[in-house]
Subunit: 212 residues, 2 copies
């Protein structure tokens, strides 16, 4: 368990002192402040959607000071990633797509995705996301709005193409589908394909969706 999950264990540090006093003041008992905040965030995101949920509203539901949320999570986007244990940061993905040679965009994205899949802990979280999305329409809606808003927002200008939403969705569709074929259907030869071969299979499709 990280320090951030147990602010009461860090009573000596200034930040945790603040957290502990807030917790003592507004959340009596042994409640784990970080857990309470994440529960409140999940409830607020589920009830209001990504766009309408606010750091202030989540702080109110959690019974903590909004400054505490900003201190621990930085932004609504980061709080969302933590609350849903979502392993893909749209800011990172946008940087991967936009930073570098435009002709190698597809390969960069493919390489980034396959590298994530090669990390067992990240892969497990990605597959958990796929399972949750398939099982819950509400979570599907929430994740879709989050990804489209944060990712398309960042790409729309930098990409300089028409219909950035459609392009991003096509890329996501091929990536989700390949993950399903490789890890959920576990179909050979895709299931055992070498990471470099996967990159070479994915890259041209992604390049075409993003730039053609």
């Amino acid at each position: 368990m990280s320090d951030a999950q147990r602010p009461d264990r860090r009573a000596g540090s200034p930040a945790a002192g603040k957290a502990a006093s807030k917790r003592t003041g507004r959340r009596p008992g042994g409640a784990d402040t970080r857990g309470v905040v994440l529960d409140a965030a999940r409830a607020e995101f589920a009830a209001r959607g990504y766009e309408k949920a606010s750091m202030r509203g989540i702080a109110r539901v959690a019974g903590v000071d909004p400054a505490l949320l900003h201190h621990y999570f930085g932004s609504k986007e980061q709080l969302f990633l933590a609350a849903l244990d979502f392993p893909i940061d749209p800011a990172t993905v946008a940087a991967v797509i936009l930073d570098g040679d435009r002709a190698e965009m597809g390969e960069r994205v493919a390489r980034f995705v396959v590298a994530l899949w090669e990390q067992p802990e990240v892969l497990a979280r990605l597959l958990a996301v796929v399972r949750t999305v398939v099982a819950s329409e509400a979570i599907a809606e929430l994740l879709r709005d989050f990804m489209l808003r944060e990712l398309v927002g960042r790409l729309a200008q930098g990409l300089g193409v028409d219909r950035p939403e459609l392009r991003v969705e096509l890329v996501i569709s091929q990536i989700i589908g390949l993950a399903m074929a490789r890890y959920i259907l576990a179909a050979e030869p895709i299931a055992s394909a070498d990471p470099e071969e996967l990159v070479s299979l994915l890259a041209p499709t992604i390049q075409r969706y993003l730039t053609d």
Copy 2:
């Protein structure tokens, strides 16, 4: 409910007379013979896998004559489709791919898939398959082996390309992924895209996977 589901309703026909006598002889009581056969098929496919399960073994488990199975279902492949309520017949898919101009393969497949999606009842069954595959590793394995064996078997020669399994899996991956983006994530603009536009988006990717 079809006649095949209620053989006792067709006691006057020779085939149903045979079914009814078998049912009376080996399965007393009000059991629905077709339901018993489908239950037995699901159990046998789950226990042995698609390749090793046999019509004879399924008939034994169901307590019916193997000839009855052949009469009602024609082949193990057709029995499998009925038992798993699987809405895609590999023979039909193989014909769509192979019959016609090779340069329009991608468009034919895309048009076939999008036409399936446009039928609400078929779409509901397709999405049920996706949900079941995600929820159950055993079903995923079974469907994978069925599709690869029956579809790749038919395509391997007719397609005349290297690595037909890999190609079919890439096509399936893009189709599953697009179905997820359109119907499960329900992301706009893909969710509301016109069928013709979907065909034009899918076709070049499928063409490349099958022939390049």
